[in-house]
C-alpha cells in the first residue's frame, strides 16, 4: 500500500488546521500513520483511495472531515480546441487514451514533488505497474496539436526523456532504463503505442517513456496530460490528476479524443449520482440515524447528498475511483459519522458451539502423548524432497504423494510435507546442545495428494534410545486409543533393518516405528541414537469433513 509523504507546512496551510488536530483525526479517515517527523508525516493510505495519494487530495478530504469545507466540491472543465485522433493501428495494443490540458499553473517544487509522488503511486495501484494505466505529463508549449495516437513499428525513432540522441523503439526497449523496466508490457507486440504531434514528432511512447522535447521545467505554465490503457481505469487516474491541478488553481481544459467510430471529450469531472436506500443504510450499519446526520456524514466525506424518496441521492465526486456499490457509500457514512461514535452491540445471533472432529482427535492424541512424557513441538509444513525423502531413505513422486510448489522461493521450501518425522529429526538436530534425554512429538497436518491428513509422530533420543523404548510408547498409545494392532517387520529404510516395525490395524499399515538408521542420523548430523514412530491418524479415525 502506498506511503505518502505529507509536508506539514504545505498540509497545514492547505487544510487550515494545526498538525495536532490533523494527526488526531487523520487515522479516523482511514489510514495508518507510519512516522511523524518535524517537517513531514508519512501516511499509508488504502489502495481503494488513490485520490488520497497527494497532499492536494488529503487536504481536500480533511477539509471535509474536519467540517472546514464539507460537501461536494465543484470542478469545472473548459472547452477548448485540443484534438487527438486515435488510429486503428493502436487499438490492438493499448486501445484507450484520455487526456486533458491544464492552464496557468505555477510549477513550483511543491507541485513537482506532489506530481511525481502521485504519478508513481497511481502507476503502481490503478496502473498495476503501468500495465493497465500509464500517465504522461508534458509542457503544453512544446506540444503541437492536433495529436495522433497510433501504433508504430519498432524502427520508429525519437529522442526519449533523459537522452540527447534519437533512438528507435527497439533500442529504447533494450537500452533505455525505463524501456528495459517496462518492455515486458509490450512483449510480443509488433506495433507500439505512440503519441505524435502535428510536426510529426513523438511526444510520448506509452506506457514506457515521454519524449525529451516536452519535458516539464520550472518555466512550464501549462500542461498536457495523457493517460493510456484499456478501460475506465484511465478515466479514474485522469480525474484524480485533473482534480489535483484544479485544487492548485489551474484551469482544466477538455481534449477531444476522436476514435475511428466515436468521439469522447475528456476529462469529465461531473459527479456521478448514486441512490442509497435508508433501509440499506440502517441494515448495514446495524442502527438508525436521522436524515440530517446521514447527510452531514456524507458531506464530511465530500459527497453531495439530499433526501430523495425512501433514500438519498448521493453525488460522487469524479476523483473517487472506489465507489462500485451503495455499500461503499454506506461505509463512508460510517466513517463520516465516526467509528468512535458507534456504540458496539453484541449480535443477537443465537447458535450452539461445536468442535470439529479433526481438532478433537488432535487434542486427544496430544493428551496421550503428554501423558507419555513427550514435549510438544510445532514445525513448518513446507519442506523439501531432500529432507522428506532422500535423507530418510524414502521415495515419493510429485502429485501422487506430495504437492510441489510451482515457484518456490527457497530450496528449503519446495513441497508440502507428507511425513512429520523428518521435521522432528530436524528439531533434534537444532537441539543437540540441550540435556538428554529428549522426547518430543507433533500432532499435525501433512498433505498427501491434495488433501490434508492428520499424523502423529514422536522421537526419543539419548545415548541408549532403542527399539523397545519406542515400542512401549506405541503399545501404550494404541492401548489408549483402544485399537487392536499387530507389529510386522517393516521394510522402511529410515530404520535399521530388523529393528523396524509396521503398525498394522485390520490388515492395513497405518504407521511404523523403530530405531533410526545411523545413515539417516548422520545426514541429520545427530550424534545420539533416535527411536521414533509415526502414525497416520486419518486412517484410524473419522477426522471430519474438510472444506
Amino acid at each position: 500500500m502506498p506511503v505518502i509523504t505529507l509536508y506539514w507546512d504545505e498540509l497545514e496551510r492547505m487544510v487550515g488546521a494545526s498538525r495536532e488536530k490533523i494527526l488526531e483525526r487523520l487515522p479516523m479517515l482511514g489510514c495508518d500513520i507510519e512516522r511523524v517527523e518535524e517537517d513531514y508525516v508519512d501516511v499509508e493510505f488504502f489502495p481503494n483511495r488513490p485520490d488520497l495519494y497527494s497532499v492536494e487530495g488529503v487536504a481536500r478530504a480533511l477539509k471535509g472531515f474536519l467540517d472546514i469545507e464539507p460537501g461536494l466540491k465543484e470542478y469545472s472543465v473548459k472547452d477548448a480546441d485540443w484534438k487527438l485522433e486515435v488510429k486503428e493501428s493502436v487499438l490492438a495494443v493499448r486501445p484507450r487514451i484520455v487526456a486533458c490540458v491544464v492552464r496557468n499553473i505555477e510549477i513550483t517544487d511543491e507541485v513537482i514533488r506532489s506530481l511525481m509522488q502521485i504519478q508513481e503511486d497511481l502507476h503502481w495501484t490503478i496502473g498495476r505497474n503501468r500495465r493497465k494505466m500509464a500517465i504522461g505529463v508534458h509542457d503544453l508549449s512544446k506540444v503541437y496539436f492536433p495529436l495522433r495516437y497510433e501504433g508504430v513499428p519498432a524502427d520508429f525513432s525519437f529522442v526519449p526523456l533523459d537522452f540527447d540522441e534519437v533512438m528507435t523503439v527497439r533500442e529504447i526497449l533494450s537500452k533505455h532504463p525505463k524501456g528495459v523496466e517496462y518492455a515486458f508490457i509490450l512483449e510480443g507486440k509488433d506495433r507500439f503505442p505512440m503519441i505524435i504531434d502535428s510536426k510529426d514528432e513523438a511526444i510520448s511512447f506509452p506506457p514506457v517513456i515521454n519524449a525529451e522535447k516536452t519535458r516539464v521545467t520550472e518555466n512550464t505554465t501549462d500542461l498536457f496530460i495523457d493517460v493510456t490503457g484499456f478501460d475506465e481505469n484511465v478515466d479514474k487516474a485522469l480525474n484524480i490528476l485533473a482534480a489535483m491541478f484544479h485544487d492548485r488553481g489551474g484551469e482544466i481544459q477538455r481534449v477531444e479524443i476522436v476514435y475511428p467510430n466515436r468521439i469522447e471529450r475528456t476529462p469529465n469531472l461531473e459527479p456521478k449520482e448514486f441512490a442509497v436506500k435508508k433501509k440499506e443504510v440502517y441494515g448495514l450499519l446495524g442502527f438508525e440515524l436521522d436524515d440530517g446526520e446521514i447527510i452531514r456524514a456524507l458531506e464530511r466525506m465530500r459527497f453531495g447528498a439530499e433526501v430523495s424518496g425512501d433514500g438519498f441521492k448521493v453525488k460522487i465526486p469524479a476523483y473517487r475511483a472506489d465507489i462500485m456499490h451503495s455499500w461503499d457509500i454506506i461505509e463512508d457514512i460510517a466513517i463520516g459519522f465516526g467509528y468512535d461514535k458507534i456504540e458496539p452491540l453484541y449480535p443477537p445471533t443465537n447458535t450452539v458451539g461445536l468442535t470439529h472432529p479433526w481438532f478433537e482427535t488432535r487434542d486427544l492424541l496430544r493428551e496421550i502423548m503428554l501423558g507419555l512424557d513427550f514435549l510438544e513441538v510445532i514445525t513448518f509444513t513446507l519442506t523439501n524432497e531432500r529432507v522428506q525423502y532422500e535423507a530418510m531413505n524414502r521415495n515419493a513422486s510429485p502429485w501422487k504423494d506430495f504437492v510441489p510448489l510451482q515457484h518456490p522461493l527457497t530450496a528449503d521450501h519446495t513441497i508440502l510435507r507428507t511425513s512429520i518425522l523428518p521435521s522432528l529429526l530436524e528439531v533434534l538436530a537444532l537441539n543437540r546442545h540441550h540435556p538428554m534425554p529428549q522426547r518430543i512429538f507433533e500432532v499435525g497436518d501433512v498433505v498427501v495428494g491434495k488433501h490434508n491428513r492428520l499424523k502423529v509422530s514422536a522421537v526419543i533420543t539419548h545415548s541408549k534410545a532403542n527399539f523397545s523404548e519406542i515400542r512401549s510408547v506405541v503399545q501404550a498409545l494404541m492401548k489408549e486409543l483402544a485399537l487392536e494392532w499387530e507389529a510386522e517387520e517393516s521394510s522402511d529404510k529410515v530404520f535399521i533393518e530388523g529393528r523396524a516395525a509396521d503398525v498394522v490395524v485390520k490388515g492395513i499399515v497405518v504407521g511404523s516405528f523403530g530405531e533410526i538408521h545411523p545413515e539417516v542420523l548422520e545426514r541429520f548430523e545427530l550424534t545420539n541414537p533416535v527411536a521414533a514412530f509415526e502414525l497416520d491418524v486419518s486412517m484410524l479415525f473419522d477426522t471430519g469433513e474438510l472444506i
Binding site: M28, M324, F380, L430, H434, K450, H451
Partner: protein
C-alpha cells in the same frame, strides 16, 4: 539425636579424644575412607567430632641454594675478598659479574660494609650463618623460623606441603545410639523393623536433580485459549485443506484477477487445476464482470475460468470460511477457523512463509456493522484486552472495513487484525442469505504479544531449552 548408620558406625568404633588419621579411622571402623570423611563431617555439624586438617612442610634446597652451599653465599665471598684488600669496585665488578650487586646489597643490608667513593669499606667483622642453615635444611634438620623465611625469600630453599586429615571424636552422645532409617524399603515395611526407629532427616533446602515437564507448545496454548473463546461464544469449528483453488481463495472473495495480491510474487501457486462448481462460477464471474444482480458495477475487464481453477496454497483462512458459508447459506451461522496459511515471503523475524490465522464469521439477517464492533469488543475482552478501539480499514472483500486496536500496557495501542462486513459482491453470488460479519488476525502477532517473542521463527523451529523453560502458566 539422629545419626545415620555410618555416623553410628564411626562413633562406635573410635575412642574419644584421639586423633585418627583417615587411614587409621577407616581401618578401625571398617568403613571406607570416603564414608569416614562424610560421617565425620556430619558428626562435626552435631558437635560430636572434629575434623582436623594438618599440613606438614618439607623443605629442600633450590638449585641456587645448592650452589651457595657449595661455594658460599655471594656476600660471604665478597667479604673475604675485600678483607684481603681487594676493594676497588670496578675490579670487583669484573670478578663477581652479575653476583656483585647481590653480594654488595647483602653486605650493606647486614651493616658489614659501605661504599666509599670507588671503594668498598668494611665496617665490622662478618659472621655468616646461612651456609650452616642450608646444610641443616639439606640434612632435614629443624631450622629456626626466621632463617627459613629469609631463605625462602631469597629463593634458596623451597618446600612441599602435605595435608593430612585427622578425625577426633569429641564426645559420644549420652543417650543410647539409635540406628536411623535412611531409605524406607519394602523389607523394612514387611518386617516392621522401621518401628521405634527414627528417619534420617534431609536438608530440604537443597535442590534435587532438574527434570522437565512434558507440556503443550506455548503457542498451542494460545490457540487453545482462542478456540475455547469461540466455542464459549457459540461458534462452530471448521477445517479445510491447505490446497485450494484460486476460485475459493480469491475469486469468491471478489478479488479481481489482476489484483496484486494474486501475483505469483506473493502467492504459492501449484501447477495444477481443479474443476469448479458451475453454479457458483457463473454468478461469481458475472459479478466480477458487471456486478451481476448485486447492485455493483463489477470490475469490468475479463474473467478467466482457467485462472480461477488454478490451485494455490491458501493465503488466508477466508478461503475456508467463505466456502463453508456457501455450503451453509441459511442464517444463523457462526463459524471459526484457526489454521495454517501460506504467503510467498522470505523468512525473517516477523515474516514467515507459513503461519496460523484466526478467523470468525457470523451470518445473520438483522446484524450490521455495529454488531461486528460488539463481537470484536467481546472477543478481545475475553482475550484479556479490556480497551478496544476502532479505525477505518480496507480489505478487498469487506465493506465497511475496520482495524481494531487494543491497548497493551507498556506498548500503547496495538493494531490487532482486521474485520468487516462481507461485500454483497461476495455473499450474493454464492447464495448466502443475510450479512456476514467477519474478523481475523494473525496468531503470530498474538503470540508475540502474549509470549513476549521478538522472532516468530522460534515458534516453528523450536528450541527445546526455551520450551522447557517457559512456564505453562500464561500471563
Amino acid at each position: 539425636m539422629m545419626l545415620s548408620p555410618i555416623e553410628v558406625a564411626l562413633i562406635r568404633a573410635l575412642e574419644s579424644g584421639i586423633e585418627y588419621s583417615l587411614e587409621n579411622a577407616a581401618e578401625t571402623s571398617g568403613i571406607s575412607k570416603d564414608a569416614v570423611l562424610k560421617a565425620a563431617h556430619l558428626l562435626r555439624e552435631k558437635g560430636l567430632a572434629d575434623v582436623i586438617t594438618k599440613s606438614e612442610r618439607r623443605y629442600y634446597l633450590t638449585e641456587e641454594g645448592k650452589e651457595y652451599l657449595e661455594k658460599g653465599l655471594p656476600e660471604e665471598r665478597l667479604y673475604e675478598v675485600v678483607k684481603k684488600g681487594e676493594n676497588e669496585i670496578d675490579k670487583l665488578k669484573e670478578k663477581f659479574g652479575r653476583e656483585f650487586g647481590i653480594a654488595l646489597g647483602w653486605l650493606r643490608k647486614k651493616g658489614l660494609a659501605e661504599v666509599d667513593g670507588k671503594f668498598i669499606k668494611l665496617k665490622k667483622e662478618g659472621k655468616f650463618e646461612e651456609r650452616e642453615v642450608l646444610e641443616k635444611v639439606k640434612r632435614g634438620e629443624s631450622v629456626p623460623e626466621k632463617f627459613l623465611k629469609e631463605l625462602l625469600k631469597r629463593k634458596l630453599i623451597s618446600f612441599d606441603e602435605k595435608k593430612e586429615i585427622f578425625v577426633k571424636i569429641v564426645k559420644k552422645p549420652e543417650t543410647e545410639l539409635k540406628e536411623v532409617v535412611r531409605d524406607l524399603t519394602p523389607e523394612l515395611l514387611a518386617s516392621g523393623a522401621w518401628r521405634g526407629k527414627e528417619f534420617l532427616k534431609y536438608d530440604v533446602r537443597i535442590p534435587s536433580k532438574v527434570v522437565y515437564a512434558a507440556k503443550f507448545h506455548p503457542y498451542e496454548r494460545i490457540v487453545r485459549e482462542c478456540r475455547k473463546i469461540f466455542l464459549e461464544m457459540g461458534f462452530t469449528e471448521i477445517k479445510g485443506n491447505f490446497v485450494q483453488s484460486s476460485f475459493w481463495n480469491f475469486d469468491a472473495l471478489f478479488q479481481p484477477q489482476d489484483h496484486p495480491a494474486r501475483d505469483m510474487q506473493d502467492t504459492f501457486y501449484l501447477d495444477d487445476y481443479v474443476e469448479l462448481d458451475e453454479e457458483y462460477v457463473e454468478k461469481v464471474s458475472k459479478t466480477h464482470l458487471n456486478g451481476w444482480e448485486t447492485g455493483s458495477t463489477g470490475w469490468g475487464g475479463e474473467w478467466s475460468l482457467e485462472t480461477a481453477k488454478k490451485l494455490v496454497l491458501r493465503t488466508h483462512t477466508t478461503a475456508i470460511t467463505i466456502h463453508y458459508l456457501a455450503k451453509n447459506p441459511e442464517p444463523p451461522v457462526k463459524a471459526f477457523c484457526i489454521d495454517r496459511v501460506y504467503r510467498r515471503e522470505s523468512i525473517d523475524a516477523t515474516h514467515l512463509p507459513e503461519f496460523d490465522q484466526l478467523e470468525g464469521v457470523v451470518l445473520d439477517r438483522d446484524v450490521g456493522f455495529r454488531h461486528l464492533l460488539g463481537l470484536l469488543k467481546e472477543f478481545f475482552l475475553k482475550m484479556g484486552f479490556e480497551e478496544v478501539r476502532f479505525r477505518p480499514g480496507y480489505f478487498p472483500y469487506t465493506e465497511p472495513s475496520v482495524e481494531p486496536e487494543v491497548f497493551v500496557e507498556g506498548l500503547g495501542w496495538i493494531e490487532l487484525g482486521g474485520a468487516g462486513v462481507f461485500r454483497k459482491e461476495v455473499t450474493e453470488p454464492l447464495g448466502i442469505k443475510g450479512k456476514v460479519l467477519a474478523w481475523g488476525l494473525g496468531m503470530g502477532r498474538l503470540a508475540m504479544l502474549r509470549l513476549g517473542m521478538k522472532d516468530l521463527r522460534h515458534l516453528y523451529q523450536p528450541d527445546i531449552g526455551w520450551l522447557r523453560d517457559i512456564p505453562a502458566i500464561m500471563r
